[in-house]
């Protein structure tokens, strides 16, 4: 007999006892908690898949630029097309296979051909050449808009590397629009454990190191357990779900104070 049958049995057999009511209520609360956990997890997974799709989309658009061996006219055309068609890409640099910047284009500025800039020792060149793709740390322009450098190497070595400066405010929109109860919140930490997206712009800008926060430690220790109860730094219990944003190795969290979740289940 499973629990539901047991309760039904109880309900049928001993209707007169108040225990029926209590048991039914306990069951209902269990079910509600299960639903809450599921909903938290779904929210985290959904947001992370939206973000992954966004980043994959950018990668495929940038990838077009390095398909062919170097030709200035072709690159100029592809670059301009990319800038006009992809709102999130603000700037695009084309590096040759020696790491020299051959062309820099921007939505806002004049094209700069053959700048004397040598990027052959920069991670955006070396990492992209070694691993095909490089995701830089999240940084802020004008203290307000989140950006990331994304560099992609061509399929052939002579394709060089395309470096895009990508505006990530779409991710901030995704995070800020997640609503969980009154005090629930969603946020993202990067591979180093720094807070990179949070609805509160001040917290986001501060890029707090959260690598030792219990929810981050727990998520890293047991990636397959998507929902956990952890204590935050103030000792308050939280119900936390997480999902990985695979490509840049970020972790997305959705959390709600446990007492709020419990009060809602009462």
């Amino acid at each position: 007999m499973n629990r539901r049958e047991f309760i039904t049995f109880l309900g049928g057999a001993v209707t007169a006892f108040p225990i029926t009511w209590l048991a039914a209520r306990a069951l209902q609360n269990d079910q509600i908690r299960a639903l809450q956990l599921r909903a938290l997890r779904l929210q985290a997974e959904n947001a992370s898949s939206t973000i992954e799709q966004f980043i994959k989309g950018i990668e495929s658009q940038v990838g077009w630029n390095t398909r062919l061996p170097w030709s200035t006219d072709q690159r100029k055309f592809d670059g301009l097309r990319t800038l006009l068609q992809v709102p999130a890409i603000t700037e695009l640099s084309q590096l040759d296979s020696d790491g020299k910047e051959r062309l820099r284009q921007s939505k806002h500025g004049m094209d700069v051909p053959n700048s004397p800039i040598d990027l052959s020792h920069e991670p955006k060149f070396t990492e992209a050449m070694a691993k095909k793709v490089y995701y830089g740390p999240v940084y802020f322009r004008r203290e307000s808009e989140p950006y990331m450098t994304l560099a992609l190497a061509g399929i052939r070595r002579d394709g060089g590397v395309s470096v895009a400066e990508v505006n990530l405010k779409l991710i901030w929109d995704v995070i800020s629009q997640i609503k969980v109860g009154e005090h629930g919140v969603a946020y993202i930490v990067d591979a180093e454990g720094r807070l990179i997206f949070h609805p509160d712009i001040d917290l986001q800008l501060a890029q707090t190191d959260m690598s030792q926060f219990p929810q981050v430690v727990a998520a890293r220790a047991t990636p397959t357990q998507p929902v956990q109860v952890v204590k935050d730094i103030n000792g308050r219990k939280l119900l936390v779900a997480h999902a990985a944003v695979e490509s840049p190795r970020w972790l997305l969290f959705v959390e709600i104070p446990l007492d709020e979740a419990s009060a809602l289940a009462e």
Binding site: A39, N46, T50, R142, S144, E145, D173, Q177, I201, L264
Partner: protein, 328 residues
């Protein structure tokens, strides 16, 4: 919030992006709209319909749970001030507006009613917000300031007008936006070996004189700034440029659609659409001061081939291939 609402809320918001999240059965919200230009302006119309459509996407439908109070100023600064006062008097839940003078006029009238602006060149310089990341007052929105655009426009002009020797930057000095774009315009002029000419205009007559002078010798070109004056006076600018054989680059697409040679700039219809994300959040209780000022991400290029042909210019095929719109 009751349990049922919590679960419904969770369930509903799982499917991001959200189609319809506005609370049903709430009181009617009021959105005031201060539009600086003319009601019959096709640009203003398309912005407004993009806005209303995006708003409906968030569950806010005009006449059902929101009401829009629109005021049109017809490009008249004094009227903008009077209408700002009138709109604030209606005590709406939020006011939307565009252009610097309209945002400044509203800000002067109210320190409490939330204001969302679009199409403001430089919100810090014009005193609307203290900081971009945390505007901290009752106002936030979508700015245009990309100081380097001055160079971008001149770069484009040099690509479509071979043999460019002199380029004028045309603006209304009372609108106060040119200083933002001037340094990059001048830097581009130096690198392109083009003589930069500063061309302030306050009237149709001054527009005419400036363009005649520029067109007198070959090698002249024109870049027209985005401000509250130039779009309202686009007809005389476009016609003078045509009569004097002067290639010109504009920042707003409406110029190219009306016969200007080429436009490049932020897609304002897209910006109006994006502004709805802030309107929605503020209607749900967010404070404007907590929402950072955003910048345009979508840019558009419109090329008028008819005008190019009349000027005897060949637009590089690369530019034509990527233009969002080509007018033939």
């Amino acid at each position: 919030m009751r349990r049922r609402e919590f679960i419904a809320g969770l369930g509903g918001s799982v499917a991001w992006p959200l189609a319809a999240r506005a609370q049903q059965g709430d009181r009617m919200r009021r959105i005031g709209m201060l539009r600086p230009f003319d009601e019959n302006d096709p640009v203003a119309k398309s912005q407004l319909s993009a806005f209303a459509q995006a708003l409906a996407g968030f569950g806010w439908t005009d006449g059902r749970n929101v009401r829009m109070d629109l005021r049109w100023a017809g490009g008249d600064i004094n009227r903008i001030r009077a209408l700002a006062q009138e709109l604030v008097g209606l005590q709406p839940d939020i006011i939307m507006t565009n252009t610097t003078p309209a945002a400044v006029a509203l800000r002067r009238e109210t320190q409490t009613i939330p204001i969302v602006f679009v199409g403001v060149n430089d919100p810090v310089a014009s005193g609307l917000v203290a900081r971009l990341d945390r505007p901290s007052g009752n106002i936030t929105g979508f700015a245009l300031v990309e100081a380097s655009l001055g160079g971008k426009w001149l770069g484009l002009l040099s690509e479509i007008a071979p043999g460019l020797k002199r380029a004028a930057i045309m603006f209304n000095p009372d609108a106060g936006t040119v200083s933002t774009y001037m340094p990059s315009f001048e830097a581009a002029a130096r690198s392109l070996k083009v003589e930069p000419i500063v061309a302030p205009v306050r009237s149709d007559a001054e527009i005419e004189t400036t363009i005649i002078t520029l067109g007198r010798e070959p090698g002249g070109g024109l870049v027209v700034m985005p401000d509250i004056f130039t779009p309202a006076h686009r007809a005389p600018i476009i016609s003078a440029a045509a009569r004097n054989n002067l290639p010109a680059v504009y920042s707003l697409s409406v110029f190219a659609r009306d016969g200007g040679l080429l436009s490049y700039g932020a897609d304002l219809v897209d910006t109006w659409r994006r502004a709805v994300t802030y309107v929605d959040r503020i209607l749900r209780g967010a404070k404007p001061g907590d929402l950072p000022v955003q910048f345009p991400t979508k840019f558009e290029m419109v090329v008028n081939l008819k005008t190019a042909k009349a000027l005897g210019l060949t637009i590089p095929p690369n530019l034509l291939a990527v233009a969002d719109e080509v007018i033939e």
